[in-house]
Symmetry: C2
Subunit: 502 residues, 2 copies
Amino acid sequence: MKACLSKLQGWLKVKNSINEELKPLFYPKSVAVIGASNNPAKWGFSIFNDLLIKGFKGDLYPVNKNEERISGITCYKSVKDVPRSVDLAVIAVPAQIVPTVMKECVEKGVKTAVIISAGFREAGGGEKLEEEVLRIARQGGIRFVGPNCFGIINPFSNLSTTGLMSLYITPYVPKGSVAVITQSGNLGTFMLKLAFERGFGISKFVSSGNEADLHFEDYLEYMAEDPDTKIIVGYVEELREGRRFSEMAKEITEKKPIVILKAGRTKTGHKAAKAHTGALAGSDDAYGACFKQAGVIRVREIQDLFDVAVTLVSQPLPRGKRVGIVTGGGGFGVVAADMCEELGLEIPQLTQGTLQKLNQRLPPRWSHSNPVDMVGTMEYSYVCIGTLLKDENVDSVLAISSVGSPSKIFDQYPPAIRNQLAEFAEMMVEWESTRGVTGLIERIRKYKKPVILAAPPTSREESEAIGEFEKNGIVVHPTPERAIRILAYVTKYAEDRKRKSA
Amino acid sequence: MKACLSKLQGWLKVKNSINEELKPLFYPKSVAVIGASNNPAKWGFSIFNDLLIKGFKGDLYPVNKNEERISGITCYKSVKDVPRSVDLAVIAVPAQIVPTVMKECVEKGVKTAVIISAGFREAGGGEKLEEEVLRIARQGGIRFVGPNCFGIINPFSNLSTTGLMSLYITPYVPKGSVAVITQSGNLGTFMLKLAFERGFGISKFVSSGNEADLHFEDYLEYMAEDPDTKIIVGYVEELREGRRFSEMAKEITEKKPIVILKAGRTKTGHKAAKAHTGALAGSDDAYGACFKQAGVIRVREIQDLFDVAVTLVSQPLPRGKRVGIVTGGGGFGVVAADMCEELGLEIPQLTQGTLQKLNQRLPPRWSHSNPVDMVGTMEYSYVCIGTLLKDENVDSVLAISSVGSPSKIFDQYPPAIRNQLAEFAEMMVEWESTRGVTGLIERIRKYKKPVILAAPPTSREESEAIGEFEKNGIVVHPTPERAIRILAYVTKYAEDRKRKSA
């Protein structure tokens, strides 16, 4: 008992210290960019400009021994010359110089660092250099991200050290409640692109690189306590502290879901991972067992990470695996039914009450069963979804539309015909109305059941309703198959939690 | 021998006759829309207007006993009143009236019909009505599509009877070489949306509905001989003439690939199919065996249909399953390697010559193996893809990019910074240049190996290169996983063909 308590205290101590130690990393009062440059071919150029563009609110100091000014701002020869204290040093200089730069950081009393520079452990013969940098930083009490990474983003402090990579994405980073920890910078920014284009934001982003000092597990621990983070998604090639991960994750998932894409599943993938980050041991089965035991949601594709995360954050968990399906056409129902069965979801019979209600609204030739084929009467979509949400046999609702709003497409037609079509467009108002969206979101909350939507991607630009859904965190998937895959992940997670708490 | 010859002659006769019989359907000189309407709530409204908008070149006659003019054009009380001969009657009147209308069509000498109207076999008690219509049409020698369908599209004759459904998609239908036969109208138009938004066109489109007269097999036979069709894609719930399909498909796939999504794979899906089109028998295993024997490519998701078709039409078949991979970041390589192994593709070692050539161009820290991680130097993408195409160990190339062109994104930044960034944008010109695209397409032809591309969807609007690729029929997939899935289908098809001809 005593031993257990002391272990707990020890762990709590580490916990506090990580959260203390990483505060100047994610919320620095001052940032020095070492290797800042006026040359657009250099990382230091894009990192410094990105910090400027994103509107970092603290003090920002360019450091470069060959320049007087960078982007019009006074430049310092060494970080030691910076007139005030430095919370975070972003280092983008050639690998060979990093030990010297790190020594200067220690002398300056810098608290944290992000080493963007590559050419360490991942390159042949770079292990020693990396160990030297780690030794200097440890002695000086500096915690650091990387090396060989894209760095970090914190939209809550207007901070981004990812430079060009985030320039490619967007000039601003939407705030959200998803924290991203990635062992691949490129793959991480790809994820952000997929998310940002739909307006889904992040709470934090870390590209962990070689993890010489800070490990995936450290960031995980930080995000667990971060008040802006409600869910944690990760891309993993190798966990350096498997046992620590396993113990922490078990606790964290009680409060915040963790969604992970673990790559290197196969022999070929594992070989590629070894070439990439030098990932070593751990059979895929071992990882699988660890994730399962810790309640981690393991997904198979990059796109799944955010889709699952956003759905878990924005919608209630389904109480079971019985799916009510609403479609504009029967073919969708058949495709959906196949996929549901294959992924362990059920398509229940609807109650007599539901059938009667639908009979009152839909044309006589509707399917009279689940999937509900509205036989082309898209104007009843919200009514049907609402009716299924109420049905006690239904735990979640999947709605598949093949159309967006006609109004914007009609703009492409000659004026004479456009006027004629205006009346038709009126008929579609219910499906397209943002009032409809608001009503549905209210019903999702009232009945505490999730609704998963699919509509083809062209509808995205056409449809105000789709924009409104996604603004409220309700993903509109481009195909029914993708929608069902995400619903299956979410349902499995809900069932696992139910079993655990039973 | 004699028996065999007479069987062949018999079959040839049927073949000729189907192609003769369906000519007035797809290339009518005159079309009557029975049920044409000025009321936007009616199908007859949207069908008639759609024919007008799409610019049908032949004679167009609205028929409606209650109207004098439809959309300003003289309207006839009955098809019998139309002053000239009618090749195609599009019928959009309540089901009960269809037998009468069909009788009038027979009396008029109409050649073919499309029955849009629903309320037949798919609705309880509608079987008799459907049989009556079929009997009348057969006696009068009229072949017809439907009932309960969205009709047909032929962009080569500016003909579309799909009405509103194609209004939703686009005011024009791009011409292409993919024929679509679908047993679900909604799912069919969804497919078209996915295709048209990327500029991929069609040769013909048929929503076959209840198939009272013309069956899936009839359309298949027609498309096999259609000179504008190079590949046939189909959505199937039930084949009414399994043996005929099997015999025909075996011959057709020697010249034109057939790609099919067969739904109703599972018990639940089969039940839903029964509710939808009344699909009856045939275990999924039986369909699977039939497709395999006939060389039909069976896909699992709606989106796969066009992606596979366009790739087969636009690119050479891979000679084997060895994939060369080019990525901007190592994480993509790991994810790709996993998926390749899982789908039966191989990641070969590169030749010494290739490694040497890449050493000359890429920074020293590149991966030095397949997958080729260019460590962020996207400007060498085309060089690397070209080098892998030349490698004798490589049968196809997969390239994964995480960035599009910076130039368009930079427009969002303040002018001061924008000017600074212009120089950086210059550096990316090679990857983004349409010259680069043209060069790559030339190399694909020269080395007779396909190239599969993945880039995140946001790049689509940013990138002129992506537009240029897709204009040339080279699909740019939104995720690496989708790209590999399509490459796996295409590779399996190529291997099957090789085995067959060996």
